[in-house]
Amino acid sequence: MGLREYIVRRILQLVFTLWAFVTLLFVLFRMVPGDPTTRFVMEYPTPEAREQRIEELGLNEPLHVQYIEYMSQLMRGEFGDSTHYREPVSELIFPLFLNTIVLMFTALIIAYTFGVIFGAAMGWLRGSRFERGGIVATLMARSSPEFWIGVILVWIFVFQLGVLPRSGIGGYGDELTMNVIDRYVNVDFLRHLILPALTGAIYYMATPALLMRNTMLEVLKADFIEIKKAEGLPERTVLYKHAARNSVLPLVTVVAIATGAAMGGSVIIETVFNWPGIGREMVASVTRNDYPVAMAAFFLMGTAVIVMNFVADLAYLYLDPRVKYE
């Protein structure tokens, strides 16, 4: 089978996976008790007023009709209107997505840059006190709940030192703008970004660090490292140029998947820091039975994960000639 065939087959698989995922979502959301009007039951003076709204939303139609309607909308790239906010889903979630992406990418870049360096050093200095301490620290970060890391950082930087803002994404009362530059490139925003990004970074750092250490240990056993050392190259060169480079390969997959997952943001970090992101909205929309918003958020996130997985596979094919496509 040639490379082209392989790619075509993978794309077909991708489409099928997406369809199954979307269908599953549809069924799951309809199985949850309640509907978008449940939350207002006590606000409606009469049940008729509520019935009317259910009808408006088309929720009294048979399920297959709703499903066909939903799928055909999706084919056209539309997500419909939020049942809760009554505005187009795309308008509602676009800024939230932006906020999440800015936060998560900052966190991931910090986590992977430092994680890789730190992990490589741990592998290189195997058996040292540095390595033992490093493993303990990494495992602690990994197993601490995100909100706890966040709370500790808040306690230090907000309440003890008073140098950083507690939450939000900017100063209150400033001009609200959708211009990306005005929104994200200013001191106020950056100060608000530090704590949530740091919380995420500390939490995510463990994966690259530990993975890097493990592959380093494998690579360092390899003959070519011995040869490089024998050639009299400086340690640093051997470490970073040869050993670390070869150890980065497995990380490609992890980075891709982490990036996909990061699209969904971190509900916990967003909640702790009042970060107006998609993760928080996703959870809220599920509790409100706001199907269109929940579907859209899950769909985009699921798509990102599935697509990034695919990208990771392709990247691997390209990076490591020993990998065969089947």
Binding site: H84, R86, S167, V272, N274
Partner: protein
């Protein structure tokens, strides 16, 4: 106070005794014959209440009630639910024996009508109706209808008192507490706040009359949820209305004591002798935020608009047969006398600019940010989940003291932190007892205390045979530790209640209704009076 009655003592002895003899006889589980004269066992009580995540206070209360019920011989199926599924199951599907939920106290509920009529009249007991228990008492229905038509206040009060008395005897619901409390604010940046009945710092008079300190021209207000919509033609939650009324005016506003006071209207409405015609004169020279004058035509237009499109307010306008305008006056002709017309209609309907809304095809779908009203605040800008910005309407006849008002939604715990970090100035939800203690210790922060008119309550599903016995319902009500809930679980925030009309609503609250404090002995006496008996296993049975 746990009371241990003679009966429960005997029961526990009896139970061990039975086990003891059975064990001695070497044949555990054989009926000793003591239970032969019992009828069927009382069915298990299906008790639905919120999860600890959804409401820690109410979850704890739910478990305490269930413990007490088990103590006196009931079997309890504890079904813990998130908020929406709980509402769906108990209010819509009516699938419960006992449910624990609350009702918010918005200003239009200060008038006793909604709590007496919508929540207990048999016309409202269909699926999704507000009469969740399915209480059906023709005698009660008659009183509820009479109070709605009695325009004379003293005569109406008598009826309202009688209705409360009846409810306390029949116990379709057990009213537990008004969950009033404290809202935190920054006392360094605000010289004074004005918490109001039922709403605390969310109250209209707070936003209007709060006094910022010198040099503070922008006040931030945090709340645990974002506004859903500023368009009253859509489903509205309470927080939405609390901000819509800042941007739009009404003919009357609920004053600080809960009675409607003239606002856009010049004076009290003129009511015809038969109680079917209400005439209102409006102010001259008041304008909308875009400079257009507010005219009597805008008033008439608004009432028509709401009658046609507003899911929340339609019901209150159904009684209007016709409207007449002349000069600055409008007369509403109703098809029957209505004592609640001022509170439920005149003090609720927002006055909308006809020159903007007349041209809108589908008012229910209007959701952009053209919110032009004539209220004390002008809508500036809004980004969902980030903030909403309002500024003072300088030309208003009663402008607020603050220049700008910023509303910040978010997680309640995080917002409390922001109060403590001095990042926001006010918070419209109650802190937990621990948070409240920390805030009280900070010299720069204050707690604004208010009384609530909403309540937390048990509803009993009277559609089910075993729940359709007044003795059994009263017995359950005696198992509710109301004092413990207010004093221990809520750290003293709130007031114990026994009636749907809160004590804070002095004009309508009947202080002499039958009271139900936690008292297991009284509960058992109620059950005995109802002919129930206990088996040797301590379980509750119907008598022969």
């Amino acid at each position: 106070m746990r009371t241990n009655s003679r009966r429960s003592f005997l029961r526990s002895v009896g139970a061990t005794g039975a086990v003891g003899t059975a064990a001695l006889a070497g044949c555990a589980g054989v009926d000793t014959g003591a239970d032969e004269d019992l009828g069927e066992p009382v069915p298990e009580i299906q008790f639905v209440f919120q999860t600890a995540g959804a409401s820690p206070d109410r979850n704890e209360l739910g478990h305490l009630v269930a413990d007490n019920l088990e103590e006196i011989g009931f079997e309890v199926d504890r079904q813990e639910r998130e908020f929406d599924p709980l509402v769906q199951q108990s209010v819509v599907e009516q699938d419960f024996d006992v449910s624990l939920l609350g009702w918010g106290g918005t200003p239009e509920r200060i008038d006793p009508h909604i709590f007496l009529m919508d929540m207990h009249h048999s016309d409202f007991s269909m699926e999704g109706g507000r009469n969740t228990p399915g209480y059906n008492n023709p005698e009660y229905d008659e009183i509820a209808e009479m109070q709605a038509q009695e325009v004379d206040e003293d005569a109406r009060r008598e009826l309202v008192f009688e209705a409360q008395q009846m409810l306390s005897e029949d116990q379709p619901r057990c009213y537990i507490a008004n969950e009033g409390g404290d809202h935190p604010y920054n006392s360094e940046r605000l010289d004074s706040v004005n918490p109001t009945l039922g709403e605390g710092l969310n109250g209209f008079w707070n936003f209007l009359e709060l006094e910022p300190a010198d040099g503070v021209d922008e006040v931030t207000f945090g709340y645990g949820a974002d506004i859903i919509s500023l368009n009253p033609m859509q489903d509205l939650a309470t927080p939405d209305r609390q901000f819509i009324r800042l941007i739009y005016d009404q003919l009357y506003r609920f004053g600080e004591d809960g009675d409607p006071v003239p606002w856009l209207a010049v004076d009290e409405p003129e009511i015809s002798d038969d109680g079917t015609a209400f005439t209102v004169e409006i102010r001259e020279g008041h304008t909308f935020h875009d400079g257009e004058e507010v005219t009597i035509d805008d008033v008439e237009f608004s009432f028509e608009l709401f009658a046609e499109h507003s899911p929340t307010f339609q019901t209150y306008l159904e009684g209007i047969e016709e409207m007449e305008t002349s000069g600055n006056e409008i007369t509403f002709h109703l098809d029957e006398p209505d004592a609640t017309f001022v509170s439920n209609a005149l003090a609720q309907i927002y006055i909308f600019p006809e020159h903007i809304w007349a041209g809108i095809d589908d008012p229910t779908e209007q959701g952009d940010d053209e919110y032009i009203g004539s209220g004390p605040f002008v809508f500036e800008d809004w980004e969902r989940e980030v903030e909403m910005q309002l500024r003072r309407f300088d030309d208003h006849f009663q402008p607020p003291n603050v220049e700008r008002l910023i509303r910040v939604p978010g997680d309640a715990g995080t917002l409390i932190d922001q109060i403590e970090a001095h990042e926001i100035d006010m918070f419209g939800n109650e802190p937990t007892p621990v948070q409240a203690e920390r805030i009280a210790d900070d010299p720069d922060l204050g707690l604004a205390t208010f009384e609530d008119i909403g309540h937390v309550k048990l509803s009993y599903n009277m559609r089910r045979d075993h729940m359709d016995d007044v003795h059994l319902r009263r017995a359950i009500s005696y198992c509710v530790p109301k004092e413990t809930f207010v004093e221990d679980i809520r750290g003293g925030m709130g007031t114990v209640t026994h009636s749907p009309i809160a004590q804070a609503v002095e004009n309508w609250h009947n202080p002499d209704v039958r009271q139900y404090h936690e008292n297991l002995e009284a509960a058992e006496e109620e059950l005995e009076a109802g002919g129930y008996e206990w088996g040797s296993d301590g379980r509750l049975y119907y008598g022969e």
